[in-house]
Amino acid sequence: MTEQRIDAIARTCARWRTADFPPRRRAARAIAQRLQYTAPVVDLALDRLFGSITQAAIEATIVDELGSLQALDGFVARAGRPCAFARGVDNVLIISSDAGIGVAIPPMVFALCAKAHVLVKDRSDQLIAAFAKTLIEEAPEFATLLRVQTWENHEASHEAIARADVVVAFGRDETMHAIRTHCAANARFIPFGHRTSVCYIPREALAHASEAYDSARATALDALLYDGDGCLSPHAIFAQRGGALSPESFAASFARACDEISAAFPAAANDLDARVATYRDRMRFRADALGVGAVHPGTNGPHLVVFDPPREEPPPLLPRTIGVYPIDSPEEMLAYIRRRRLPLEAIGTTPQPSADLLNVFLASGASRIAALGRLQDPPLAGNHGGYKRIAPFTTIAYRDA
């Protein structure tokens, strides 16, 4: 029954929340080795991942999308509509990307709740395999539903893709195109291709230096975690003019905050990425020779903050590199996002944005609006990529009244 499955999943995640849990310790070491992230970064990622997968969050998501938990177990009545059964699809394939930590786990959890047979393509750190093993310890029935593999054989990949009713894939856009061509004609394809995120700092947040620093610090955490990898990492911060603190001062404050965050969550590598060094030199030239913008290199880590980068270009989509753009209005931010055709995953901002501001955010195409400092901590019950969480793993059978 669905409730028992959810309970088993939640119990397993609770075990993984303990830093000393041996499978987690082993996986954390392997992840650090694979991605070269430092131990604090990996630990935070695992805390956030497993902290988000709770019984309440899973149940709330299912109830919201399907009407009730019971809808997964049999026909249930629906107000004004025929009764329906959200039957899980037969086969789900989840293809992890080379990056990210445990990105395959949330879709896997929901596919299992839907009673689908799930095959996950794991990475070399075998986090998913380790999680699956502990999940089966909690509920042996998952052994018949869940398989985790690592494979490099393209033929095997193509066969698995062709067999799947639903394919969830993470990675580069070219990879998404390639996978899509191998999907069955009636399969559902849920691609998590390339996207990025931005932050918006309204002038109200720049009224006092101390509050502005709080915003800067929260934004720095979002920007520097995972070295700026992933679709939830902001590479552009839009700071509104007209506050007591200018956007330029905010940029300097943000650079100090980056230094502070770097001490807590050090970069994977101490050396500045070659392309970041090139970008830094060019921005220094702009600042020194043309008097445009400012450059704030990290004092205790390889990060780079550039105030007022060129608007004719996309933001600096480079490791631990963030541009701070001074703007007069949120519409100016929107115009830039549209002009540069930035595919957005999320926008980080201060709490309680106005209705007008929300409209601008929606117009940007972002699927998530988050509090500063929480961009890298998406709720399980949210909709990564704008997709529903469990509905895609089900088909609705209905019985006429």
């Binding site: 990307s97 990425d273 070659a274």
Partner: protein
């Protein structure tokens, strides 16, 4: 005589001296140093952005660099952000544009006097590519300068074709489309005439050519004495191949031995070019040599000069860049050896990971 004319005259004399085999000229450290520092002084007098850039690094008219190695280098990408010229660019005799693979705008290199570019080009081409014979037939797989008026590569080969060719030069690249049939016809005609050819092209164009010839199962053995100048250019392309593989395929299909296939290395932002040193063309790691008015330091990301053999970024000092910027930092990596540099190319694109985005994605 104006200062610009004096500098140009000195440069052209240095080029002529080298072309005629004189040991004097810019190969002499003191002569290169004196000319470079005079050029720097001239450039900060006539190029405001560069003067400000240099001032931020502690150099001005009152405090000039003690040595050419101290001259502040501008990142090549700065040509996208500023007009880096010592003259009114409306008077430019040459204007070259960078391809601009990642930025919306391309960089522009304005050259006041074409004579400097032409002299530097021909002297080096004669030394590194045409030392044994002239009057080759130029078959160009690079942009036609009549169609791509701002392509430095097109200009370069156009000029060389006219002044060093047999009068029957032809062009086979039009807006990225390669005229394989036209090339094959031209090469067959050269074979029939027993006329050696000089084939110039980007690595990508050669790959496309070879793929097409493979499909046709066509082997076109070029007449003895033929040669190839490969100008790099894989960046941003969908298919890459190793240099060794490319050269082996060229030898097989076109009958031009690998030691007659020479890699040229240049940049839109430079006046002068590097070529594979003749003595290294049989070796696995080819050494790139330049005429003595183009010198290169290998530097770390923080600008610190590396020792010979240590890998770093290439910082070029080109005395031919009188009317723009003498010292230019690049993203190209390599290391210094006796007689030149070994070019390693650009750092592999390892970023981004996950579902994040690169500028290349947006500009594709």
């Amino acid at each position: 005589m104006t200062q610009a004319r004096e500098l140009d005259a000195a440069f052209l004399a240095g080029v002529r001296a080298w072309a005629h085999g004189s040991a004097l000229g810019f190969a002499d450290e003191a002569i290169f140093d004196r000319h470079a520092r005079a050029l720097f002084a001239y450039q900060i007098d006539h190029n405001e952005p560069y003067a400000k850039f240099a001032a931020a690094r502690g150099f001005n008219r009152a405090r000039l660099p003690a040595s050419w190695t101290e001259i502040p280098a501008v990142p090549a990408a700065a040509f996208k952000d500023a007009t880096l010229a010592t003259f009114d660019v409306r008077e430019a005799e040459l204007e070259f544009h960078t391809s601009g693979t990642t930025a919306a705008q391309s960089g522009k290199h304005y050259i006041e006097r074409a004579a400097l570019y032409d002299a530097a080009l021909l002297a080096a081409l004669d030394r590194f590519m045409l030392a044994d014979r002239m009057n080759l037939r130029f078959l160009n797989l690079v942009p036609n300068p009549r169609l791509k008026t701002h392509s430095s590569l097109g200009y370069m080969m156009g000029h060389a074709s006219v002044l060093r060719g047999d009068g029957k030069a032809a062009w086979f690249l039009d807006d990225e489309r390669l005229d394989v049939d036209g090339f094959a016809r031209a090469l067959r005609a050269a074979i029939a005439d027993a006329q050696p050819v000089f084939i110039a092209g980007t690595a990508f164009a050669f790959v496309a050519l070879l793929d097409a010839l493979d499909e046709r199962r066509a082997a076109l053995p070029a007449p003895a004495g033929s040669r190839i100048m490969e100008t790099g250019g894989f960046k941003g392309r969908s298919r890459a191949t190793s240099r060794d593989e490319l050269y082996a395929r060229l030898e097989t299909r076109l009958g031009i031995p690998e030691n007659a296939i020479v890699a040229e290395y240049g940049m839109t932002e430079l006046t002068s070019q590097y070529y594979d040193a003749p003595t290294s063309r049989e070796h696995l790691h080819r050494v790139k040599s330049a005429p003595p008015w183009l010198r290169t330091l290998v530097v770390a990301g923080d600008g610190r000069q590396m020792r010979d053999g240590e890998t770093g970024f290439l910082r070029h000092f080109d005395l031919g860049n009188r009317s723009s910027i003498l010292a230019i930092d690049t993203e190209d990596r390599g290391y210094a050896v006796a007689g030149g540099i070994v070019l390693l190319g650009r750092e592999a694109d390892a970023y981004p990971r996950g579902c994040s985005l690169t500028a290349e994605d947006l500009s594709a």
